[in-house]
Symmetry: D2
Subunit: 342 residues, 4 copies
């Protein structure tokens, strides 16, 4: 739409779109509003829309993904989790245990995250486990503990929904609903997340290509939820010195193609405690908008993923290093944009 | 249990197991009945069970999977789909289109499969698609067409359930419910399949290890459904001459560790029509219990996967070759077991 | 060239090619002779050649490989190793130990291969080993033992040349010089092999694409040695139930693009003895022209690769199964070509 | 050896080692000298050495690599290329074109690298190319141009030796001889490099595990050349948004196991110009000792790898960003070691 187009023009374009049997998506930008069209099975006629008042141009989006594409929205999207902006100027640190194991454990973890200057608390109440006989999480009790931790610390809660059945419950407690790597192509779950009013953290699947990753996000946006944070967590390769191979190059690749923010999970990405700090710094240097890190008050006693969890002290040092690094990078990016004076 | 142990002894062991808070699984074998115990969080005391009447021995299953393991059940499992035994002496050929696209299409495909001597009909009414904008299947209408095709041809129906929500419907129509590769670790769906009384065809995930594959099957058996057919359909690698890399070595590897039957999908496994016949023969030669192949009356008009579908004539030739090959292998296996006479 | 073109016409075309600064490769076929041109940095003018007497047409080869391509030579190439045709109507079985460990060992292995009806003997005198401290082979002494085994059994010798320095020596003893997977892109070694008058067995690299594999062969042909046998030996993937993932789909893929024969190494391809037989049969069913299998008189005492070696009895049974399978496939291929009569 | 052990004690230990038929490697450290033993086929008796004067203890090195291991030498190794320390306190930037294409091109590239504060110049005179018909480098002429560039700019020269035959020539001109990814397991070439007095830059193979990478370095050290710089350059995976998947986690993994320095090649590691800067920063943040980056005066005219080359301006900005980042990290590492004061 043209910069001066107002609600009536926008509404009229949406009507036209819907009268043709398609779905309209209003995507506000800083300068102009874009209106995405989905539901068409082939190319549309630009002339059907360009004659409407307020329309600047009708652009054919050439990628298989539309709403997640920078072609549709040029500016970066900032997703607010509780009151924390993800994808803005500052990096976001989300810490917490793999699983909520008990009231004390999650409260202590939350205090540690808070003390380190972290903004978000992670912790699984429902855990997708390879074995049906492994600990599957505390369920709603875990969610209640998370809510208590939020009340005490003010941290926003990021927790996973493993299926459509328990989504309502998770959504009720969470400030951001995580979709795990194994569910990246669980399309029913993605659609349900798309109908949620909570932001969604979408993890890249273990052998997902960049296009599949963005298409999974597209499923969520196509249902109307534009608050999606992407997350790289390592992919599966032949390499055996880490649990997964953290593919940091996907960070600039996503930023090139999409307006959505992307953060990095160095805990699952490496699976080894001594690799978390260097890979966290590397993620920030590569341009990630934040980190999601496993922090446990006593990693050696964790019911799951202890070997890849930091203790509070380690997380505190890491947080400080990351912030210093992010500040430097922000400063240098600003310098690079200054006019060169003689 | 001892060979002579009868229902009362078995019942008593189950009671003991349940009184301890665990779950008992009765697994009948040719010679003896085994009773699996799940739900324990650590090793149990063998003495708790060995003193009961009819108990032969209490074996600790060392693998993370129990019910799918050959340690639990030595003989091959034969799964009956409608009246077709999968995993028995004869190979099973399942053919049909990727998606049910219409009444005529699926009826023609079913007739072609029947004419070629195939025993099962495949066809998706619900399709998991990478893009939210791609054709997602005909839904219940597609299931009704499949039922009609079964009525006319007598072929058992194999069709995919993509989520828990539509599982009931799929289960009502299908003779065997397929769980797709993307859902191999959708644990809620696996549990639901485990509560079904229909057999389940479980496809290996795109980057699934053998252990993860067997653990996914374990989820289904742990809920009480022991009729699981495994299916190799190619894994994701760097190789680009085929859509996926068909890992036939998983066939003998599964047969070594598990009593469950395994079949092969050479259509998704290669993604290219001219590779289907050689890889089908290779799969049979590697010992697979059958094939699931995409067959379309007019592959060039298919709404999905046309490039990897056979036409009826090609499928007919392939079926004949496969049967000839399977017969030869059966004959040679019998010869190998004969006593050598001078 | 036209079918009736004789040596003088061929010579004249070669002269023209060379006068333009390129290299001519005469490739005789059943019906007609083709002349390949290499050394040009861009497209040539067809008119420069089509006006010469005897020239049927000038075809631009579109693939990056030329001499290995079916576009250049339509008929299958049969490579003769000693007197054994590889790539002809019958499958070829090459067996023998990973390394030549001593005189008795290689003689016994050779006798076992011979007794099983194998045609070629493998055995490494020079071994590329991951560790500098591992057994590196017996060197020339090993080659002498191989020659002695040939003398006694009549088997042709396939043995590896690991570098240019020892190539002369290996070439002097071998009937077919093997280039190992790690050396598939050792271009100096490929060029040296291209100047050899002995046939070459080229193994696919651990993470080689089909195109890289064919380009490696092209290096050998480009130097004038057209007797190249390709060999699939498994690629590196995330899968951990076998040492490598045997990619049998490369067999029909190679046969589609190239006239060169391809065989399969199920020993390195799986790394596990109990997978060798099923994957050997699968390889033959996929259309491979033969197998190269590790056979050791006493696998449990082997200095290298014992876990993936067959003993003589196992090899004998496998050989018989493979021949029966190959016969059946040949018969069915002939049947398929017969005119259908009513 | 004990800290006070002098040359006579060391010599005596070496004698003992050699008298037993093994090879002794003197490895000087900051505090103490270590003496590595290789050439033994099994465990040795510690008592054979511990009774000699000056011996502190005899340690069995448990890894398959010995000389590259931190168990053998605790302090980081600094490798000097010309006068540039690699692996010391400061990061090292090596820039230059993929291939030396001409005198002007390499001189301009060298000036650009110099101007940006880079310390080393890369450029291939011998190029390993997938196709026999691609540009294979200028050979010795290219080496002469590199030498001229060194003379003018003072930059040390890093250039690849592709085979044993041309090693002498490359060694004569180079300040550091590169062994490329395809040759990582070309053991003859590694041994030749081990007998060189020039430092060696060893690139990780395309599908090399960490252990194979270190074992390849071990081949060089085992021949007596301890000046080896390791280099991560991306591995081959299913991911298709970059040419290779840059595995930065191997940087801390190498540093954990080995005393050798490791640098990163973001050009081959990503294959895309717009990924080079973020991945360069990520590499430095992960702890790499430097970068080797493709820089071309006019990337759009490069004979090879133009799409992954930076122009002089881009390299200048990158160099500045990297140094600022490295300084920050050094500062923070020092801070972390300070005693905490109240």
């Amino acid at each position: 739409m043209k910069a001066q187009a107002g609600p009536p023009e926008i509404a009229r374009v949406c009507e036209r779109i819907e009268s043709l049997g398609y779905k309209a998506h209003i995507i506000p930008g800083e300068q102009r509003t874009a209106i995405g069209i989905t539901g068409n099975s082939g190319p549309l006629d630009a002339a059907d829309f360009e004659d409407l008042p307020g329309v600047a141009e009708a652009i054919r989006v050439s990628k298989p993904y539309k709403l997640v594409s920078r072609e549709t929205k040029r500016e970066n999207t900032t997703v607010r989790v509780l009151d924390v902006p993800v994808g803005g100027d500052e990096i976001v640190l989300c810490g917490g245990p793999c699983s909520v194991e008990g009231r004390e454990q999650i409260l202590e973890a939350a205090r540690a995250v808070r003390a380190a200057g972290g903004q978000l608390l992670r912790g699984g109440a429902y855990k997708p486990r390879t074995s049906p006989y492994s600990f599957q999480g505390l369920g709603e009790q875990g969610l209640r503990y998370l809510a208590e931790a939020r009340e005490e610390t003010g941290l926003g809660i990021v927790t996973e929904a493993v299926d459509v059945e328990t989504f309502d419950l998770v959504e009720a407690y969470a400030d951001c609903v995580q979709i795990g790597a194994r569910n990246m192509q669980n399309f029913s779950l993605l659609r349900r997340a798309g109908r949620s009013r909570k932001p969604v953290l979408l993890k890249r699947g273990m052998s997902s290509t960049l296009e599949e990753f963005l298409m999974a996000a597209e499923y969520i946006l196509a249902e109307g939820n534009y608050n999606v944070i992407l997350c790289e967590r390592g992919v599966r390769t032949f390499a055996d010195h880490t649990r997964n191979t953290l593919d940091l190059s996907v960070v600039p690749a996503v930023q090139n193609l999409s307006h959505l923010p992307i953060i990095v999970d160095p805990s699952h990405g490496t699976g080894k405690r001594d690799k978390i700090a260097p890979m966290s710094l590397a993620a920030i240097a590569a341009g990630a908008s934040g980190l999601i890190v496993e922090v446990h008050p006593m990693p050696e006693r964790a019911l799951s993923d202890g070997a890849q969890s930091l203790d509070p002290k380690q997380f505190g040092e890491l947080a400080e290093d990351c912030r210093a690094l992010a500040e430097l990078l922000t400063m240098r990016r600003r310098l690079a944009k200054l006019p060169v004076t003689v």
